[in-house]
Symmetry: D2
Subunit: 140 residues, 4 copies
Amino acid sequence: MELKFDAAGTQALIRGGVRVADKGGLVVEDVRQGYARIRLPFRDSMLRPGNVISGPALFTAADSAMYALVLSHLGPALMAVTANMNLAFLNKALPGDVIGEARLLKLGRKLVVMSVELFTSADPQRMVAHVTGSYALPGA
Amino acid sequence: MELKFDAAGTQALIRGGVRVADKGGLVVEDVRQGYARIRLPFRDSMLRPGNVISGPALFTAADSAMYALVLSHLGPALMAVTANMNLAFLNKALPGDVIGEARLLKLGRKLVVMSVELFTSADPQRMVAHVTGSYALPGA
Amino acid sequence: MELKFDAAGTQALIRGGVRVADKGGLVVEDVRQGYARIRLPFRDSMLRPGNVISGPALFTAADSAMYALVLSHLGPALMAVTANMNLAFLNKALPGDVIGEARLLKLGRKLVVMSVELFTSADPQRMVAHVTGSYALPGA
Amino acid sequence: MELKFDAAGTQALIRGGVRVADKGGLVVEDVRQGYARIRLPFRDSMLRPGNVISGPALFTAADSAMYALVLSHLGPALMAVTANMNLAFLNKALPGDVIGEARLLKLGRKLVVMSVELFTSADPQRMVAHVTGSYALPGA
């Protein structure tokens, strides 16, 4: 299928939507067929005791990556909502920008299923969380 | 087992820990054997487009309820970390305080497994999300 | 909503469908508004090394409980398919019949979301697994 | 880390363990650093109404792939148990051998976290389910 928006267009859509995530200056770095990569710039408020990035910040990054993937592939008219998220926390998320790589697993009429791999810029080779989730499509 | 802390003591511990969640004035309303209930007071920043409470805010409430359950039962020395979270989003979370009821499913030597039911004060009878998750215990 | 089938009717439907589960003589013990309880009679083939009931047998029981809940509430015309299953394994499942109690979390137009608590008759007070899952409804 | 067993050795271990899965003649096709691929030969009993492979058969394949990955990397002494499984069902699993590719996400002291992609030989390019799961390691 053809993409509806490139990275810049997807980012503008998300930021324009005043979604929670964009308050942190969410960057949509790349969108390709079946793929989207976002970056959530580091802020102190992401940290929790132990000086690691908190679960809610990682959730935000994963959800933003999925949202970018959905918007870039299906367009702005869509009010998709998260149906399900499963997060496996793997390694301590050292302070840095949070990078999320979303991959399309299935684009159905009712559900979009995706996986997201999360990293931080402090150690871009070490996955900090693996996420699987689905968005329900309205009006299907 | 005996509880290590009551609701007030658990709340003080969490707020003292400067955990992300406590910035919103997290209230630990009740802790009992195998149970903890928290309340995350409503703030505008919880909203996403459509005027419903965002996924990250719901995640924060679920994680805080689990954390309150773990701390009240195992005490403060413990640096437990979230290993896994599975969230099923059920109904639109209308604006209001987010209430999380955590129940202990298993207290093992290595893992604590819990479920959380989430509601908002706008409609306290309607569950907005059902969460299952686990914390890994250190030094086991 | 009114139930479409009682326990006996639901059981007949499932067994008639030659679903894998019914080869084990699946019993639908109870269906009520928002609830279904099934029993999967013990067979040696359910065991794995260590003399405990295997993961696939527990999965089968959870899926059967969900299927009984869906069929009794929505009727036989429906070809619902499992969209997602999350299983938290809590305690060793000692040999015995596997009992699954399914509860309705949400009946939407596109998705039915349910939880299932699994026990075995060897220790009916000890939950062996907690499951959350969803079925996608066709033609929505 | 060095592998403890190659594909043939891992397969012999699993079959020797009289695990449920091996009754179907489970084949361990490949093990490499951080990777294992298994094949569960097709049998009629895997089918459910609609002539597609059942959820329990897919669960069995996913669990077997994870078990092969764990055994090949950690050796036979280990009695690891499944702690958690999350399955996203993506496409109808057309009749054929079920192929599971497990990848290591984290090898911790207490938990091994893995993902599995499932296919059938009827359409080896189309993923039928994506699974994430963890095994708890004993004696940690």
